[in-house]
Amino acid sequence: MSALDDNAKEIAEDAGGEEIATSSREINTKEQDNGAGGPIILFFIIGLFASLILGWVIFPKLLYSKKKQPIDFNHVLHVAEVEDGCESCHFFREDGTYSGVPKLEQCIDCHDEIQGISHDEIKFVEKYVSKGREVPWLIYSRQPDCVFFSHAAHVKAAKIDCVTCHGHIGESENLKIYEESRITGYSRDIWGKSIGGFKKNTWDRMKMDDCAECHRKNTANISRTGVKTPTNRLIGHIIDLVSPGTSVSNKGGSVQTERDACFVCHK
């Protein structure tokens, strides 16, 4: 018992000592406050603005490295020449897989020899066609390896227009600078041009939440493949809690069955 009492006393003493120290500090602060209220707010504002500038302006410049495409491709010029729109060059193979960026094989029919006076075309023919080398195009919309995306499902089965995800790239006369995240090695176009992640058009971003947004709008009521990302699931749960019955999540499903087939889009 006595040992316990001793301990208690020590603790009390310690606490008392602290109290005294704290009160003396308070006095000091009050003294300074009188003369330095302005600078403190000023420093707050400096800090605030500096970090905002850092985050919004400098950070994206540091994060992304800029790369020029090997050849400056003019989509407008080519779209006018072909009959089948985008699919003339970005075609589906017989087995339903999507060819993506054209290979030399498709270009060679016309560009066997130099056609015009464009500097880039001359470069293309001399550097790649005549040497049989593939052009190392930088692909703006390349997704990480864990993503499986079926063009056939979206374009052939669901009849979605290319523009919905890729925007009006077919109307461009130049290829824009390719920006690559130094951390992930993927294109800036996935996250979107806006570093804040804001978007106006469906094609502004290509993150999982963007897939989910469209799927929730368009497929939630026809199939059970509404994409559930961790974020929109959380939102769904919150909506469920706040006003039950309004969210689009499947009714009657348990916690387990509510998630579905992540591997429809992930491999």
Binding site: G96, S223, C262, H266
Partner: protein
């Protein structure tokens, strides 16, 4: 809009035909970019999505008998759709039950390697990547782009070659179809089996061979009504989608834990 009846892809493995040759194991490894190491003799660490087990009846010479049993992931449905042992415990939503196909998925990039699912899987169908996958110089050339190579620290398992389902769907879309025919989606092990011991298809479709072979009883969570068919650890109630056929009783007994004198549970009688 009315829901189409969901598929329930499953497998029937005829153990009378299985020769234990191991083609299924290797076809799976080749199809799914499974890594390998210099010493693979510690089978707890050796990643084999499909593994062929050797069973013996334990009788002395000359009454000994052996049987091989290929074990993919069972893609358990559980007592309710999606109550697979592994899916219910995953804290990361890295493994999932797909209602459309009945396939249990594994998303490597979501998995953080806690290995709960491995502990809960009664079939040892799940494997952990203790090491980064390394292919000898030049050998990465044969890696398939349809399946992502896994990184160190995640769990992997058989996916019923789900990527083949995806590719078959894409092909069907080109022809304006949304439904797949039986032979359009077949797993790598099924295709490779030189003995034709593995059959794969939709257990919900009476026209598919798997249905006719296993004769699943929907009233009892798909329990087979074919007297030669059985499922592994049936009595655990995991409701697996892999059925085995054997004409030998000792093999069927080996599929579950029976007491010494207990007879294999009679199928509940339904004489409607």
């Amino acid at each position: 809009m009315k829901h189409k009846k969901a598929k329930k892809y499953g497998m029937v493995i005829d153990l009378d035909k299985c020769t234990g040759c191991g083609s299924c194991m290797v076809a799976c490894m080749a199809e799914n970019n499974v890594p390998f190491r210099k010493d693979e003799s510690n089978k707890l660490l050796s990643i084999t999505w499909m593994r062929v087990y050797k069973l013996t009846n334990g009788k002395p010479f000359p009454n000994t008998d052996i049987c091989y049993l290929p074990r993919p992931c069972m893609h358990c449905e559980g007592q309710h759709e999606g109550h697979s042992p592994c899916v219910t415990v995953c804290p990361a939503i890295a493994t999932d039950y797909n209602i459309e196909t009945g396939i249990v998925s594994q998303i490597y990039t979501r998995c953080f390697g806690c290995r709960y699912c491995m502990a809960s899987c009664p079939y040892h169908a799940r494997y952990f990547n203790w090491w980064d996958p390394v292919w000898p110089d030049g050998m990465e050339k044969y890696l398939s782009p349809n399946v992502s190579p896994r990184m160190r620290g995640v769990v992997e398992k058989c996916s019923f070659c789900f990527h083949k389902y995806q590719l078959a769907k894409e092909k069907a879309f080109m022809k304006g179809r949304r439904e797949l025919k039986e032979d359009e989606y077949q797993t790598a092990c099924t295709q490779a089996c030189p003995a034709d011991a593995i059959t794969f298809g939709d257990l919900n479709n009476p026209n598919h061979a798997v249905y006719r072979m296993a004769k699943p009883d929907p009233k009892h969570h798909g329990r087979p009504t074919n007297p030669h068919a059985f499922r592994l650890l049936e009595r655990l109630g995991t409701n697996p989608k892999v059925y085995y056929l054997s004409s030998r009783e000792w093999v069927r007994r080996a599929g579950d834990n029976y007491l010494e004198n207990e007879s294999i549970a009679k199928k509940p009688a339904h004489h409607e």
